[in-house]
């Protein structure tokens, strides 16, 4: 199965711009299904971004982050070809990790 994480990381000069899109329902716990039952909250709580083993960004999310969440940030110090490791964990304990090369 393909990864739930899509990453674009590109270095321009000494700055690396990172965009990530993660496939996840991000159920808020306030929405009802077709039968009228509440869909329990199911959402990513934390996403960590590490470049060459060093933390460059941590996202703490609640249920108000959109379905298939997206985030964009930039950091200094990354070079083309460096490894960017992204991991998420949700409130049910599920998780996924991917490593992308900075382009």
């Amino acid at each position: 199965m393909a990864s739930t994480i899509r990453v674009r990381a590109s270095a321009t000069g000494d700055t690396t711009e990172v965009q990530a899109l993660i496939q996840h329902p991000m159920d808020s716990g306030y929405v009802k299904d077709a039968k009228g039952d509440l869909i329990p909250a199911h959402f990513i709580q934390q996403v960590t971004f590490e470049c060459n083993g060093k933390s460059v960004f941590v996202a703490d999310w609640g249920t108000a982050v959109s379905k298939d969440p997206y985030v964009k940030f930039s950091f200094k110090g990354g070079n083309k070809g460096d490894d960017l490791k992204i991991s998420w964990v949700d409130n049910k304990g599920a998780s996924d990790t991917t490593t992308a090369k900075i382009a």
Binding site: T15, M26, S28, Y30, Q45, Q46, T48, K54, S55, V56, F57, V58, A59, D60, W61, G62, T63, A64, V65, S66, K67, P69, Y70, V71, K72, F73, S74, F75, K76, G77
Partner: protein, 163 residues
């Protein structure tokens, strides 16, 4: 700056309540030039996400209050095309930024997202959030141990035969 992982429940409890000073006292982090704050913790801030009111969420997250600043540039649509996906971003000219958070005052729980900004990472984040209805959206920037904010109202309407 290196952030060590430490999942001690004691530390978490203290962080929620007292924040910076207690944290420094515990000495669980090796500090660089600047101190670390509650939001720079690497535990998911459960208490803050539980709070309904915006002020309570900010207090649970940072243990202090924010002051509006024109150095915080919040970008949000005037009318959200759909409350399920509202693109919101913030950037700032402030330095020593350690944390960025987004809050939606009229959502069931105000805190939407909070980001740890380690040294070397730009104080600028874009993300997409859900809004239950028309509301004030606030971005909080923690810089040099103080909180700065910018607020904008975003109108949200129900979906119809658009698109």
């Amino acid at each position: 700056m290196t952030i060590e992982t430490d999942f001690s429940p004691t530390r978490r409890l203290i962080l929620k309540g007292v924040g910076v000073i207690a944290l420094a006292g515990l000495g669980v982090l090796r500090f660089g030039a600047m101190p670390a704050f509650a939001a720079a913790n690497d535990k998911w801030p459960e208490e803050a996400f539980k709070q309904k009111a915006e002020a309570d969420a900010i207090k649970a997250l940072y243990g202090k209050t924010a002051e509006p600043s024109d150095k915080v540039k919040l970008d949000a649509p005037e009318i959200a095309e759909n409350g399920a996906v509202v693109p919101i971003s913030v950037t700032t000219t402030l330095t020593d930024v350690t944390s960025i958070s987004f809050l939606v005052a009229d959502n069931p729980s105000a805190l939407a997202a909070s980001y740890v900004i380690p040294a070397g990472t730009m104080p600028s984040v874009a993300n997409r959030i859900k809004m239950a209805k028309t509301s004030k959206v606030t971005a909080i920037i923690e810089a040099g141990g103080k909180l700065y904010s910018a607020t904008k109202e975003v109108k949200v309407t129900v979906g119809g035969c658009g698109g």
